[in-house]
Subunit: 304 residues, 2 copies
């Protein structure tokens, strides 16, 4: 068996906005990529980009030493690996799982233990950067795992990421860093939407507010990135409300299980839940601004 | 009367960390500066920097066409101008008040009306940027007022600011923009302190958390600026907790009076109030992290 040739083959399970982009980045870097997704639309896009569609997750990983799992959460990742249609048992004995779904650190530790019990390797590798950077192979990856996991995953990681933080040998550390980022990201989106709606209520020129705030101490990465969606009234989902009901829900669970209060994340979670309850769960996460507009009867572009 | 010579004279009332710096920037730009403050320590520092100490606010403004008022809030500004020791009546008939305290837009509109009723001019000119940039003449000023107010204030504004946003002719608009900035700044400080303490509870390397977050979508201007105080355990006040109990209190008042909910600002206000209640009101605003550390029994540098 030619080790190099085999290592240039990767399976990607989950071909949505992030996984689909990561698969394309791997193709662009010269990997042979087999992919699987439960959504036929995602499979068609992947085939059109030059990928090899597999009929199941288990078939995607056959003779493939690297699996990139980019599903929604820990539960789906567990199903990908250990479910009835799960694929871990079909992977070569010497292989690595690159696990990129956002999940609680404890869930990542648990999955790593179970994968490593089969002799295979596990890289806890949550991602950050959005769909565009995924497709460009320019993600940020927050990675933790054994030396062997890093070595085996290395070429694929390099093809998918512009920046890799190596956060030590304990799976779960990547997940924990990602959750800290999500806590802040969620709070900042909610605050940006509250602030821009409050500015509208005050009768301010919102384009001018965007200009002033992005040049001032009140700025955040999320304010700068999301408020243009509000100003343009464009709520096509680049990242959906449901991502943050999920991720801030994980923060809430982590807070309860470690007895640590997170009042800011809690307030943000309630705003995302209200926005989902108002029927905008699958819309862009800047829709929190439309919730404020609807509640307070103010006029924003693209209001529902 | 030599108009140019007269215009190069400025009075500064309030010589604290911001006003003292602004007075030094005016001195550095060649203005003759008369100053007043109720705190003798501030007067001594001002005299040492080359300023002329006045025995009262009214004496500071005599024959001085430009007054810069940099006190704590609307109430103090009102006292400076209209109180028993107030100075507006002592100012030349053709003169301008540059009002830089943070206050509600309605308070700025009210002060402007009352100043303009005497024939004098009012520039609503809240500031942003911190003490260091104040002393360098490198503040951001959010200015609104009549054309005549802008013209008269212009040379002094230019000496104090690196960036001036001209926000129209209606006093109150500068104040409103400042409050939007303060809403975001307060929420971001509270969120940064919650996130870094939560990361400590999760056992993460906090220096690494700072590195990762400042390179990720969870970043904010405040996270980047304040978290080094937490990592170094240095809570000497660059800006105090009490500034945000005040400013987020104004947001709460504005929200009630215009019937607009601000749950994110409300959650942040409660955290600043808890931190003040725990005895840290005059400490650096990053002390919210020490509140979390104390509540949850985690170890942070400089903990009280």
């Amino acid at each position: 068996m030619n080790k190099t040739a085999t290592a240039s083959q990767v399976a990607v399970i989950g071909l949505g906005s992030m996984g689909g982009g990561m698969a394309r980045a791997l193709l662009a870097a010269g990997f042979r990529v087999k992919g699987f997704d439960v959504n036929p639309t995602n499979l068609e896009a992947f085939a059109a980009a030059g990928g090899t569609v597999a009929a199941s997750a288990a078939l995607a990983v056959q003779d493939t030493p690297i699996l990139v799992s980019v599903v929604v959460n820990a539960h789906q990742t567990e199903n990908v690996l250990f479910g009835a249609e799960g694929c871990l048992a079909a992977m070569p004995e010497e292989s690595v799982v690159i696990s990129s779904a956002t999940m609680a650190p404890e869930a990542a530790r648990d999955l790593a233990r179970r994968v490593e019990a089969t002799g295979r390797h596990y890289l806890d590798a949550p991602i950050s950067g959005g769909a565009t950077r995924a497709a460009e192979g320019a993600l940020t990856i927050l990675a933790a795992g054994s030396k062997r996991a890093f070595t085996m995953a290395g070429p694929a990681i390099d093809a998918m990421a512009a920046k890799v933080y190596e956060l030590g040998d304990a799976a779960g550390t990547g997940a924990a860093f990602k959750m800290i980022n999500q806590l802040l990201a969620g709070v900042h989106i909610a605050a940006a939407c509250e602030a821009i709606s409050f500015a509208a209520r005050q009768g301010l020129d919102l384009a001018r507010v965007f200009e002033v705030i992005t040049g001032s101490a009140g700025n955040s990465w999320m304010f700068e990135n999301r408020i243009p969606h509000v100003l343009e009234g464009d709520y096509a989902p680049r990242s959906a409300i449901e991502i943050f009901t999920k991720d801030l829900g994980i923060i809430a669970d982590m807070g309860r299980s470690t007895q640590f209060p997170t009042p800011m994340a809690g307030a943000a979670l309630q705003l995302f839940l209200m926005t989902a309850a108002a029927g905008m769960g699958k819309d862009d996460d800047a829709s929190v601004a439309r919730l404020f507009a609807r509640i307070a009867g103010i006029d924003l572009p693209g209001q529902v």
